[in-house]
């Protein structure tokens, strides 16, 4: 049975993907720009383009993986949890996973074994925020509408990132064929 015949239409899928693409690409590019001043000291422009192309390739693969994970969850979990209103819930899940992961990369939480009180508290806080956000979208229809409307705008931005990804993939191919 195909995806579409199980209650997930193409536009929902696209919206969820956009909510994965957007935060992941913003974060990856920001981290790259954070290093840019150090890289410009030692690399040529073509090498800098190459480094950013690899970063974009990584972000594209990561976006696909996260969207795939959300889709898989939609089929594995009971239909009422995620598959119904997939556009809304899947998008919210993608966004929250990205934001939670970004927060976990900040310098004040260090996830290493054994987990400290701060890290455990952080995980609990993320779960609480997830629950609160889902409750908000579930409880207030207007909030859900605003969220989806925002998603449609994010979709446009995500398409820009995807175009950059395609350029990045081409550059990676050229560099590897030519030996940089």
């Amino acid at each position: 049975m195909g995806i579409y015949s199980r209650g997930i239409d193409r536009s929902s899928l696209l919206l969820v993907f956009a909510f994965c693409v957007f935060p992941i690409h913003v974060w990856t590019l920001l981290s790259g720009f954070f290093q840019l001043s150090a890289w410009t000291l030692r690399f040529s422009l073509w090498d800098l383009v190459g480094i950013f192309s690899y970063l974009l390739l990584g972000a594209l693969l990561e976006s696909l993986a996260l969207a795939g994970l959300i889709l898989a969850l939609a089929f594995v979990l009971p239909a009422g949890w995620l598959r119904q209103r997939f556009a809304l819930r899947g998008s919210a899940l993608g966004l929250l996973i990205s934001i939670g992961s970004a927060a976990s990369l900040s310098e004040w939480v260090r996830f290493d074994w054994p987990l400290g009180g701060l890290e455990i508290g952080f995980v609990l806080a993320v779960i609480a925020v997830f629950a609160g956000f889902f409750w908000l979208l579930h409880r207030f229809e207007r909030a859900a509408r605003y969220f989806l409307a925002t998603g449609e705008r994010i979709l446009v931005l995500s398409l820009v990132y995807l175009a950059m990804d395609i350029a990045g993939v081409l550059i990676v191919i050229v560099r590897n064929l030519g030996g940089a």
Binding site: P23, I24, W27, T28, L30, S31, G32, F34, Q35, W39, T40, L41, R42, F43, D47, G50, I51, F52, S53, Y54, L55, G58, A59, L61, E62, A65, L66, I97, S98, S101, A102, S104, L105, S106, E107, F111, D112, W113, V172, R175, N176, L177, G178, G179, A180
Partner: protein
């Protein structure tokens, strides 16, 4: 099966077949690039132990007995007592060894920096390949791998880092071998950055995998390595594997060969083997030196403890070096081999500094060991002239009767030339990791040693335009008394020498990037 897909276990198993290459090589090999080897050309085994400070070796007079096996080896070798690295961390230190030039010429002075492209054909591999040498190179250190990738077209066997690592989850050299450095920088930023990783999802998976790997290896090796499994850049390794592999190389590579083997120990973290743990618990206190204004001011008790761990790690390295030499001697592999032992830079445990990525260029950071044993050498020879790692390339070329190109900045080492020629020698060490690659040196530290004196020059650091320090290394080897204010005449002479040199090397970069 390409090398890059071999696991460490497969690689070590296949290494056992290397002796067959002795028979098979003449059947299958085309003549190596360049000229045919001169009959009887010696093999060259160049062994670099990363971060091995001469100041911490008992061979060089250190108080703790850290290097008994290297001292035994020295009894049949040439020992250089005033030998300097050209940089204070791996990239510039190694690029100088491999190109015979200072960092200001080869421009490899950043972390993961690369040499200027002209040096892709101006290096020891390119030059020795013209003499028919079979050439191989290996490094645990990924900074060195970036350089070796630049030189790989001159190598007959390019051995990936993972070949001798217990765990290496790096993907860039598996998937993007031809564009290694850009891919590696992106991978590091994406997954392994110590600050902000670029990946939101895969970095989590990577952390989980690394955690599981580390736990597995720790479980397997805890008995041998109580302070943890040796590790750097998320690579886990044990030195014994690399030494076993080096023995196999020396016994089985086609002759003449040149093997460049760059091993990470005793680079931190100092994970020594069980029998060396706590070997140097004593009450010894080195000279107290006030924290330098360019350091973070690591407390003295921390430095003392780290120093002991480092010394105990050196003792482990020394024991493994002893095992290597004994094995090569027993097999007769040393009979026609020049063995060179050196390091890319030293390490600091003083003035509030632990480490080597720093603007400071004091002796423990810049003075490194150099021992050369020629085939059949039975007596020790001590050389006290000033020498530098940039001298290795011209000296090895000299030993194989090669012509030394004009771009080489190093000189042939004594005793291979008349020691009188080394009288006016000046050697330099440069730190410029925050300076633009193709700009004049404006943010850097330079050290120049002339005779018994050493001049340090700091430029471009916060709240500091230009500052000098001057030391007399004979009367004050610990560099405690800055003579710059009290010896203005001498200071002015040395300052003029160093400024002239810097003007000269900066001249072509006056207008920024080419």
């Amino acid at each position: 099966m390409p090398f890059s897909r071999l696991s460490r276990r497969d690689f070590l198993k296949l290494s056992a077949l290397l002796p067959l290459s002795q028979m098979a090589w003449p059947l299958f090999a085309s003549e190596p690039k360049g000229m045919q080897a001169a009959a009887g050309s010696p093999n060259i085994l160049l062994l670099v132990f990363d971060t091995l400070s001469a100041a911490h070796m008992s061979l060089m007079g250190y108080r703790r007995e850290t290097t008994p096996h290297i001292s035994a080896f020295a009894e049949r070798a040439i020992v250089y007592h005033n030998h300097y690295a050209a940089g204070n961390f791996t990239t510039p230190g190694t690029a100088a060894i491999l190109t015979g030039t200072y960092p200001w010429a080869n421009r490899a002075f950043h972390l993961h920096g690369l040499v200027d492209r002209t040096f892709e054909d101006r290096n020891i591999f390119a030059l020795l390949s013209e003499h028919g040498y079979f050439q191989t190179a290996y490094s645990h250190n990924l900074l060195v791998m970036s350089l070796l990738h630049q030189f790989r077209r001159h190598l007959d066997a390019f051995i990936p880092t993972r070949a001798l690592c217990l765990v290496d989850n790096q993907v860039s050299d598996r998937l993007f071998f031809r564009d290694y450095t850009a891919a590696f920088m992106a991978e590091t930023q994406f997954l392994n950055s110590q600050r902000i990783q670029g990946s939101l999802v895969f970095s989590w998976l990577q952390r989980l995998v690394h955690f599981a790997d580390k736990r597995e290896q720790r479980g397997a090796l805890q008995g041998r390595f109580p302070r943890g499994v040796p590790e750097l850049h998320k690579l886990l390794f044990v030195l014994e594997d690399a030494i076993d592999w080096s023995i196999l190389q020396a016994e089985s590579l086609p002759n003449p060969y040149f093997a460049y083997i760059h091993l990470l120990p005793p680079h931190e973290p100092y994970a020594t083997r069980r029998e060396f743990v706590n070997r140097f618990i004593d009450n010894w206190q080195p000279d107290t030196k006030a924290p330098h204004f360019l350091t973070k001011g690591v407390p003295a008790r921390v430095l003392l403890r780290q120093r002991r761990f480092y010394d105990e790690y050196i003792a482990y390295v020394d024991a493994e070096f002893g095992r290597l030499i004994a094995s090569l001697e027993n097999s007769g592999a040393l009979d026609n081999t020049i063995v060179v032992l050196t390091s890319d830079h030293g390490q600091s445990f003083e003035r509030g500094l632990h480490g080597h990525i720093t603007p400071l260029l004091y002796e423990p950071l810049t003075q490194v060991p150099l021992l050369i044993r020629l085939p059949g050498q039975t007596a020790r020879q001590d050389i006290r002239a000033l020498t530098s790692n940039v001298d290795l390339l011209p000296s090895l070329l000299h030993l194989v009767n090669g012509k030394i190109p004009g771009w080489v900045e190093g000189r042939v080492l004594p005793p291979f030339i008349d020691p009188a020629l080394a009288q006016d020698r000046r050697v330099y060490t440069l730190e410029a990791k925050s300076n633009p690659k193709y700009g004049p040196l404006q943010k850097s530290t330079s050290a120049m040693v002339v005779g018994r004196h050493k001049l340090l020059r700091y430029q471009g650091f916060p709240n500091l335009d230009r500052q000098y320090e001057l030391y007399d290394l004979e009367s004050d080897p610990a560099e405690l008394e800055d003579l710059y204010p009290s010896r203005p005449g001498l200071a002015a002479d040395l300052q003029a020498m160093l400024e002239n040199k810097l003007d000269q090397v900066n001249a072509q970069y006056g207008r920024g990037a080419p």
